[in-house]
Symmetry: C2
Subunit: 545 residues, 2 copies
């Protein structure tokens, strides 16, 4: 007889029931839901899905939760964590569950309890106009934060990733990026509250300095100075399984006093080299003030229309088909499209813009646009980016997943220096594998302070097992291709975590030894997000021996 729920490792139906009983006695039965694993395909079951990865790259029921737990407070989280220790029950904390492209809400270990922090813990605890910061619970989305700022009429901007429906806290703890001058979300966070794997509660930085006169009970500098005194812990709790972040401070950008987005298009694939060589010094000099991106034509085409509009061969678009598609969507795009913005008063923007035009103008055929130069229409990426680059949450950017029917996707994101040589090598590695495996290369280079995030995307039909398997095989080879060339991923999908952690193996993978030593000290029962970022508790490591 098949059971409709999934057991976590080391558990029997009996021990499972006991754990559920305990969790329910803490939170009330209505906040501990057993996942019906027959309903994963039902879009209305949970939206966004809290149960599994909607963009599954391996079998849909591989990365699936057994239960969903919805704590209502930090104290609830502490009690749940303590109960998980009693029952050796693996937890998988998520803020909202919209970590799309990296696994969504799905747990690394089948049968884990997804701790759905955002379901009830979704308050904006502080929003300070004068000092330009906020203190948030896990369930606050970019959209909620943006709307609250508008409602209050504050002169503050937020920084959003491509989609506005995700958790601000979740994105920062995953070290996600956005596109304004505050694009490095980890760098722009300030102060955390964290439930450790033993249920103990800490506040980082100045948060551990008490002040009874403040609403938080911590120093009024908690969201102003990140480091505090002694070891600075915050980084340890990003992309990790060392605790559950229950509050985070984020710095907000004051309205810069002026804004102008622009698009620069390049007509040849080979322009990538020169464009990147131009970007580097401009970004270092902060003439490119934000986190600009240079996107492949395919990405922008896919936002406008499905693949079937341009080809029915089932093979990657040919050069001719690609050029025809660029023409057909007619949004101004060419082979590579650079989206940037200027921030500040008009005279400052003018200086920057002249420098930018002068520099990129040396590329033959480069075209410069302001939003008013092109008609606003569905699928016009430029007009979406115009909002994103000033921190207006978008909900339409993920439209490119419609490139294929039942489109699934997985982000593969190696880091590279900002040099033409490295960008071209990255592009060549990806393009070669995509062509070999029959996918259209879709990619974007996002420019951080001194590095490129190369986000490489395959869109596959997730109801087509062969295609899915093919995409996954390709990604596994790409991990190794990139590692061989000295490029590593900054973030990854659940299914690739072990492999990618394995590429960070300098000196006999001494960094993983350190990760495991800390893991064993903080989480001896191995209940906190086992396997996250390739870090496994002792019990699971023993299992693999």
């Amino acid at each position: 007889m098949s059971q409709s729920y999934i057991l976590p490792p080391f558990h029997t139906a009996e021990s499972f029931d006991k754990a559920i009983e305990d969790f329910r006695s803490i939170l009330g039965a209505e906040h501990v839901e057993i996942v019906d694993s027959t309903k994963l395909d039902d879009q209305s079951y949970h939206d966004p899905p809290k149960t599994h990865d909607p963009f599954h790259i391996i079998d849909q029921d591989e990365l699936v939760a057994s239960i969903i737990i919805r704590p209502g407070s930090t104290e609830d989280v502490q009690e749940i964590v303590k109960a998980a220790n009693r029952h050796r029950f693996p937890l998988w904390p998520v803020s909202i569950g919209r970590n799309f492209g990296y696994g969504g809400a799905a747990p690394r270990v089948r049968g884990s309890a997804v701790v759905d922090l955002g379901a009830r813990m979704n308050k904006i605890l502080e929003l300070d106009n004068k000092q330009a910061f906020t203190l948030l619970e896990p369930g606050v989305t970019y959209k909620m934060l943006y709307e609250e700022i508008q409602r209050k009429g504050y002169n503050l901007w937020i920084d959003v990733p491509d989609l506005g429906g995700g958790s601000v806290l979740g994105n920062a703890t995953e070290r996600g990026v956005g596109y304004t001058p505050y694009g490095d979300h980890f760098m722009m966070h300030c102060g955390m509250e964290i439930v450790l794997p033993n249920g103990e509660l800490i506040r980082t930085g100045m948060g551990s300095l008490p002040d009874k006169n403040q609403p938080t009970g911590s120093s009024n500098t908690w969201q102003l100075f990140p480091y505090g005194f002694g070891p600075y812990h915050d980084g340890l709790f990003t992309q990790s399984n060392y605790g559950i972040v229950t509050k985070i401070g984020m710095w907000l950008m004051p309205d810069p006093g002026g804004y102008q987005s622009y698009m620069i298009t390049f007509s040849k694939d080979s322009d990538l080299y020169q464009a990147i060589e131009i970007i580097r010094p401009l970004r270092l000099a902060n003439i490119l003030q934000n986190v600009p991106s240079i996107r492949s034509a395919t990405l922008d085409i896919a936002v406008a229309a499905p693949r079937s509009d341009f080809s029915s061969t089932g093979k990657p678009l040919t050069e001719e088909e690609l050029d025809a598609a660029i023409k057909k969507v007619d949004t101004g795009i060419e082979r590579w499209n650079f989206y940037g913005a200027l921030y500040g008063p008009e005279p400052v923007r003018k200086v920057m813009w002249e420098a930018i035009k002068g520099a990129f103008g040396t590329i033959e055929g480069a075209k410069f646009y302001l939003p008013s130069d092109l008609p606003e229409k569905p699928g016009s990426v430029f007009h979406i980016r115009d909002g994103t680059l000033r921190g207006v949450p978008s909900t339409t950017e993920l439209n490119w997943t419609n490139w294929m029917p039942n489109g699934g996707t997985l982000f593969f994101s190696p880091i590279s220096p900002v040099t033409g040589e490295d960008a071209v090598r990255q592009y060549d590695i990806a393009k070669r594998r995509f062509t070999e495996f029959g996918f259209d290369y879709i990619g974007t280079f996002t420019v951080g302070m001194r590095e490129l995030h190369h986000i490489i995307i395959a869109v596959y039909d997730r109801k087509n097992p062969e295609e899915k398997r093919r995409a996954f095989e390709m990604y596994k080879l790409l991990v190794q291709d990139c590692a061989d060339a000295g490029y590593g991923e900054y973030r990854t999908h659940l299914a690739l975590m072990d492999q990618i952690a394995g590429t960070y193996n300098w000196n006999g993978n001494s960094i993983m030894q350190l990760n495991q030593t800390i893991k064993d000290a903080l989480d001896p029962n191995g209940i906190m997000a086992p396997g996250k970022s390739g870090v496994w508790p002792k019990q699971y490591r023993d299992l693999k021996k």
Copy 2:
């Protein structure tokens, strides 16, 4: 019979000798020096002193090393650490030993081995003009780095703290600050190599991705992207005793294409409130682009001349004496003096300068100066700052320690919000205690992104035991005064580490529980910098029970 050297805790003369023998067999006898504790007063014995705190606030021979060890390589450091484990010998790593005001090279535990990393490990391993970064060993000073950049004719700036003789690596790992837009040294570092307390070697971030084709053996993104994959560790190795940092990457600022320093003076003590209220929005808007500082008159007077030039009463300067001293030094200063700079091409600087003048012009009696407005002469702080604010290392800034004969000093550095109310409260707390204890208040507010570092300085005669005791008593009370008001220190002198760590006691000092758990896991033998930042290994904690 008195011995000329000092034994570390848990050691006999015999076990000490065995350890020395082991250290010497690893490095050669010439690189393991036994400290002659009778020579601490001899300035030529070690310059800067590696043996003790030259600005001792408690008994000079309280915080003293037993031996000095000079490793020549990372491998040497690993071997020394392993030997220290064999002999349970406490190590105290220093880069150069110029952590003046916070203890210099002195160890927290009497009789520790000072590991003088900078003595032989002092190479600039990489200096990349194109990507604006450097990779350094512990012994590289600001001055060395600055001179190498000039020698190569690179268009790069460095960011220096007040003095240029210290270690770039040491300052960043202590989370020191400088005064250009790259003033947050921890934020501007990228990648570390660390010997763990068990002798194992890690590289953080992208450093753990190997690349045989790179000179470092690590990915070419090691100094370009700080975070790597999985938990981000670097913060854990700052102000901590979890490892010895043997290499660090630092980002360098490209020449901004223009520079103009300025001074704004305020004639009344009470102008502090309004000045800080003006600074906050300007800094948030990045119109104040760097880490500016607003210094008390006493600090700038002390740079110019000793106290005896202005008063012989032995009591804190009166208001009248202070005004007379301001007149006498005649460097343009008044009660508070704000030092800032503009960076960028002329039209950009012009926009900033107009905004700054307009804002501060609302303070009655505020005066604006460019360096050319005032004669350059010894003791002119403005002309020193003109260099510091563009990253030119200075060696004269510490002249204010001559305020008293045999001047010693201790930096006390609470963090506060950037509000007039908080600044005035900070100033009042300090001024009251200084007056009560008979010292001249000397202070400076340094403006980070969203917080003030209030650096409070007492200069005392370190050969006068009564005066020293008085200063120390005052500091201990100030720690509590500030904690009561919700202010905590960002960094501190050895002698105050325990007390200050004790103020970060939110939720039963849960952060210290975490620190100790990590300490015990990484350093079970308790050999690495015991007591640093108040974190004690288990053996020492047991001793105190």
